[in-house]
């Protein structure tokens, strides 16, 4: 890994020249038999993969309008072509969103459209050969499903939808990706992505209580499996022990403490992340989401709050109501959803993001802060792609941008924005999302971080920024890993609730 170096910053951020095949053969490790079979996929590439893949594609085309329309509608206008961080960082033309889609579209045309059957060359249609399949594996595992391209496409064509479909097809023929599939296995077996068993979790939480007591002199609780608690907190398992994630977990606990909220974690659902989305598999997406429903029913909680995790918040905000009924507005006869929705307290949004929870408390003057505690930080905010483009907070569109910023400004004095073409809905992915946060893809991850690193460097140079806050476990893990390669201190990255934790005044000083 020592040979992985950061690409040079672009002098002017113009569109790079193409370097065909720069990333050919640089895909991730393939999943082993054991990993695949544990979650119900064929162990390895099946004999009749060609026919199976085409059949699966047909099935997905009839189940997902997005895929169907997106296969047809692209006019090759190229508006998306320079919008992907992986293309910018690698210069491989197949990492242009439209070219990535075309890997599948060319096959779609060949098997599902008249012109492709009659004149394949004319419309760029291709047979699904082993080479094409390997290309799929390679490049559909170089997309972080960040949806930046979909912001700019005149028809909203979302490459993430195509990538998900491709991964679903690959999994169905036994050509899955190791990292994602292994993690999904762990969620089912142990309860969280990191494979942290219940007793270890309880230990960790007790340790945290002691640490906080030592630091503040106050008994901040980290309860788990408490029946009848008001709030169930669902948070990424990295929050339990990874740095800097854990500092945000402490932040949430302090907010609950200061607002007098009774809350609990769940050992059964000790993971907010849902890699089912990354592999585009509805069954997995649903099964993983159902754990949270079960925990909520079992513990009898009134509210479900989600910690700092980007894709988990997209799944929670956009999909939970569909998948598991966590939400509002189910039909009268919808017994499955009603069962849970009757239990939840609909004066609050279900689910609630921890930032919504904290901001609401700040607006009610339920929290007090000593901003000076954050004075050593000059802070900027990295919008995480799934939060920015796949979810919302609060009542207004764009609340997902305002609320975390408002919190930062409430708890700290020095806040600086990065260049507007790289924030809010135009934010760049950290380079490690979508099931790519694995060391076998480190080269890609480093290159994919280029656009973010460039603008971070700008605010570091101009304003002396020394802290980049973000609300995503993957962003935090990715940045702590790749930032040193770009010459930044890894401790520059942290959560919004880490800043909250620094400044919050608990109890006695009031």
């Amino acid at each position: 890994m020592a040979d992985i170096t950061a690409p040079a910053y672009r002098i002017i951020p113009i569109v790079p020249a193409l370097k065909p095949d720069a990333m050919a053969g640089k895909g991730p490790f393939v999943a082993s038999d054991k990993i695949n079979e544990a979650i119900g996929f064929p162990g390895q590439l099946v004999e009749d993969w060609h026919d199976k893949a085409i059949a699966k594609m047909g099935e997905l085309l009839s189940k997902y309008r997005s895929l169907k329309v997106y296969m047809d509608a692209c006019v090759h206008c190229g508006a998306c072509s320079d919008k992907c961080h992986y293309f910018i960082g690698t210069q491989d033309p197949k990492n242009m969103p439209v070219a990535r889609q075309d890997l599948m579209r060319s096959v779609y045309r060949r098997y599902f459209t008249l012109p492709g059957k009659l004149f394949p060359k004319l419309v760029g249609a291709r047979d699904l050969t082993r080479e094409v399949l390997d290309e799929w594996y390679n490049y559909f595992n170089q997309c972080s499903e960040c949806r930046r391209c979909s912001v700019f496409c005149p028809y909203g064509i979302d490459t993430a939808e195509v990538t998900m479909a491709a991964r679903e097809i690959l999994d169905s023929i036994g050509y899955g990706q190791k990292y994602s599939n292994e993690i999904i296995g762990k969620v089912h077996k142990i309860g969280n992505n990191l494979g942290l068993p219940g007793p270890a979790l309880i230990d960790t939480l007790e340790g945290l209580e002691e640490d906080v007591k030592e630091a503040t002199g106050i008994d901040v609780r980290f309860p788990i499996d408490v029946k009848g608690a008001e709030v169930l907190l669902i948070t990424p398992s990295a929050d339990f022990f990874a740095e800097p994630h854990i500092d945000s977990l402490i932040g949430y606990a302090k907010v609950f403490h200061a607002t007098g909220t009774s809350w609990t974690l769940s050992s059964m659902a000790s993971e907010a992340g849902n890699f089912g989305m990354f592999i585009g598999n509805y069954d997995q997406l649903r099964k993983i989401a159902l754990r949270i429903r079960e925990a909520a029913l079992e513990l009898g909680v009134k509210r479900i709050v989600v910690g700092e995790c980007g894709h988990a918040w997209r799944v929670a905000y956009s999909f939970w109501n569909t998948l598991s009924g966590v939400g509002d507005g189910a039909g009268e006869v919808d017994r499955f959803a009603q069962m849970l929705q009757k239990q939840l307290d609909h004066r609050y949004k279900q689910p609630t993001h921890i930032c919504e929870f904290t901001w609401d408390a700040i607006e009610r003057n339920a929290l007090t802060f000593d901003k000076a505690k954050n004075d050593k930080h000059i802070i900027t905010f990295h919008d995480s792609c799934n939060v920015a483009r796949g979810s919302r907070m609060g009542d207004l569109p764009g609340g997902q941008f305002e609320i975390p910023r408002n919190i930062i400004k409430a708890v700290a004095s020095n806040f600086v924005e990065m260049s507007p073409e790289t924030t809010r809905e135009q934010t760049f992915c950290c380079g490690g999302g979508g099931g790519l946060l694995t060391d076998d893809l480190l080269d890609l991850r480093v290159k994919g971080a280029l656009p973010r690193m460039e603008v971070l460097q700008q605010v570091v140079d101009e304003h002396g920024v020394n802290f980049m806050a973000t609300i995503c476990a993957i962003c935090k893990a990715q940045f702590t890993k790749v930032m040193p390669i770009y010459g930044f201190d890894r401790r520059m990255v942290g959560g919004v609730h880490q800043l909250v934790s620094n400044a919050i005044i608990l109890g006695e000083e009031k």
Binding site: V15, A17, L18, L61, S62, K63, R65, S66, V69, D72, A73, C74, V75, H76, C77, G78, A79, C80, S81, D82, P93, M96, V98, A99, D102, T113, L114, P115, L122, V123, G124, S150, V151, F152, C153, P154, Y155, G156, I157, D158, R286, S318, F319, N321, T322, G327, D328, G329, D334, F336, Q350, R389, G390, R392, L396, P397, G398, Q400, F401, E425
Partner: protein, 241 residues
């Protein structure tokens, strides 16, 4: 000749209408199981109508993406709309007031349409990334539209055709009454190319026109927490349990 064109037009129109309806039907019938609007997205239906209108009329997303493509693309489409509306005079008797009103603008629209198309083609030919993603059909589509436009413009400015007779012919076609079509070479060419366009439409990327209205990232309301969204096939998974 008039007969031949009549058959050609009937067939082409049939392919166009049936093909397009069939396509639109599949789009409408295919479920969108999950809420995937690209946020920030409108939270109300009214908001979605506004968003779609901005996309269709102004190409809002393209505007954010690339000003050069946007200006050429928008120029082409706006001109195309005017030209098409102007052509309504061949099919209506008496000509509707507003169609008569836009006649003079339509003439210039032919020219701006040509400019837009050429601009798009130049981009496709000379920008490395766009050339990379282009298939032969992408070039041919632009060529086809350019040829239609040029033949039309030549009739407009160089070799006039008997537009009254053309109109008579098409009104006739609409009443299953085949009359005489002026046998100008340019007109033949123009009409041949138009039938080609009609036939190609439902099988090509021109499906972006109906497609844009069915794109879930654009046409969904952002209200997943407030209202449960469940497709038929996903609901089945629940009843099985």
């Amino acid at each position: 000749m008039s007969m031949l064109f009549a058959i050609l037009f009937y067939l082409a129109t049939l392919v166009f209408v049936v093909g397009l309806l069939q396509r639109i039907r599949t789009y409408a019938a295919t479920p969108a199981p999950l809420k995937i609007p690209t946020t920030p997205a409108p939270t109300t239906t009214g908001g979605v109508v506004l968003r779609m209108t901005r996309e269709v009329v102004f190409f809002e997303s393209l505007f954010k993406a690339n000003l050069w493509t946007w200006s050429m693309g928008w120029l082409f489409h706006a001109s195309l709309a005017l030209v098409t509306l102007r052509h309504l005079r061949y099919f209506t008797e008496p000509v509707w007031g507003w169609v008569a009103f836009i006649q003079p603008f339509g003439i210039y629209a032919g020219i701006t349409m040509l400019l837009g198309l050429c601009g798009l083609w130049v981009r496709r030919l000379f920008v490395e990334r766009i050339r990379y993603i282009s298939t032969p059909s992408d070039h041919l589509m632009l060529l086809l539209l350019i040829a239609i436009t040029v033949s039309g413009l030549l009739m407009q400015f160089v070799a006039h055709t008997d537009v009254v007779a053309v109109k008579g012919y098409f009104i006739g076609l609409m009443h299953l009454d085949i009359r005489v079509l002026p046998s100008d070479l340019l007109l033949m060419l123009h009409l041949m190319l138009v039938t080609t366009l009609l036939v190609v439409f439902p099988f090509s990327k021109l499906l972006h026109a109906p497609g844009v209205f069915f794109s879930p990232t654009r046409n969904q309301t952002d209200n997943p927490r407030e209202k449960r969204h469940l497709s038929a096939w996903a609901a089945k998974l629940e009843s099985e349990k």
